[in-house]
Symmetry: C2
Subunit: 217 residues, 2 copies
């Protein structure tokens, strides 16, 4: 049961978390006092005692640097998040749902969730995202409806690559063909015709498909 903290107490709690994250051990009373301009260790102690009473910290009495967090307090920070991704070998990438007209594909409004991807399949510097496949136009390439395709916007696109493009504000997955400066999007299903790109204003190449994830039932 955690009670509400004052602004000051909240600041001090945050500092303790950060200090421990950076140093591998918690701060002393004097280190906390220095950070917040409190010259008396007793002033700091008051705050710590309040944080103990309100259910956030444990203080081991008569133990140097004996501060620890009560259960559930140690929030995950962004920096730690990325380190853990590296340590464990994964990235969490956004899943794009419907694409709203006129805004970047990775804008918040287009994001409908996220998915974890093994880090051996992409580079940290790639802004990858996932897109759910609609339709069966790429079925001969082993891309089925409801599959997630993983898109990288940092890789060079060459003839024959599977790409995601925006066509009249609709995202589509197709094979990319460029010939004599003319672009075609080829389906991989005999029931569909290739698409010649004539109106470049309604066409935008988003990125290259680098992976496919499918979940049965």
């Amino acid at each position: 049961m955690k009670n509400k903290l004052t602004d000051r107490q909240e600041e001090i709690l945050t500092f303790i978390k950060q200090f421990r994250e950076e140093n591998g051990y918690p701060p002393t009373l004097r280190e906390i006092g220095k950070k917040f301009g409190i010259s008396s260790t007793f002033g700091v102690k008051r705050h710590l005692d309040a944080l103990v009473k309100k259910g956030y910290l444990n203080i081991e009495s008569n133990a140097s640097r004996g501060i620890s967090f009560q259960k559930g307090v140690e929030e995950i920070q962004d920096e730690k998040f990325f380190r853990i991704q590296e340590d464990y070998g994964f990235y969490k990438i956004p899943v794009v749902g419907r694409v709203a007209a006129g805004i970047p594909i990775l804008a918040e409004e287009n994001i409908e969730g996220s998915v974890v991807i093994d880090s051996s399949f992409m580079k940290k510097s790639e802004d990858c995202f996932a897109l759910k496949v609609k339709g069966d136009s790429m079925i001969n390439a082993g891309i089925f409806e409801n599959d997630l395709v993983i898109i990288s916007n940092k890789r060079e696109i060459v003839n024959g690559d599977i790409v995601v493009a925006l066509l009249e504000d609709e995202a589509t997955v197709k094979t990319y063909e460029i010939k004599n400066k003319s672009i075609r999007l080829l389906p991989q299903n005999n029931n569909y015709q290739p698409i010649d790109i004539k109106d470049v204003e309604n066409f935008k190449l988003i990125g290259k498909v680098i992976g496919i994830v499918r979940w049965l039932n």
Copy 2:
């Protein structure tokens, strides 16, 4: 660059990790000494200095409980590992390579790596593993050579499911058909014939394919 540790140094490093995990702060020299029956702080200090020198610890001088780990040292313990998996929403599952005859498929000798899978696609209680697909017998089901198939051994298998089975000590991915107590394994490629299972001694059903992961180039 981490050099080899003596047994004693290894024990002490492990204790420091555990102590910090349990208490939220590192141990003092005297606490380490007590644990290992070393009565002099200097004896403990020797070990810590060696661990610093060999690239495992940092010791802040003249700081009580000033022990921290050098980068990459904080091994992930099983308990913490599972908690992080839950927090971040992934599982790390083994990748099975060649299957050796006569031993369980998840035996260490068969494992050639691991892969991270988003946790929304499987349950914690499932002992899932991944298997790399060889051949193109399931191409019409959108399963290509070199794809990873994710196998669950905890799900009920019904007619028409895609399964992994052992056939004469060879792992194979096929569609499962059972009719009149007779089992067939159906390829999804017109170039291959269905396989009737006649010799049940050389046949073993391993599990159901619940997912597919493909990485292009």
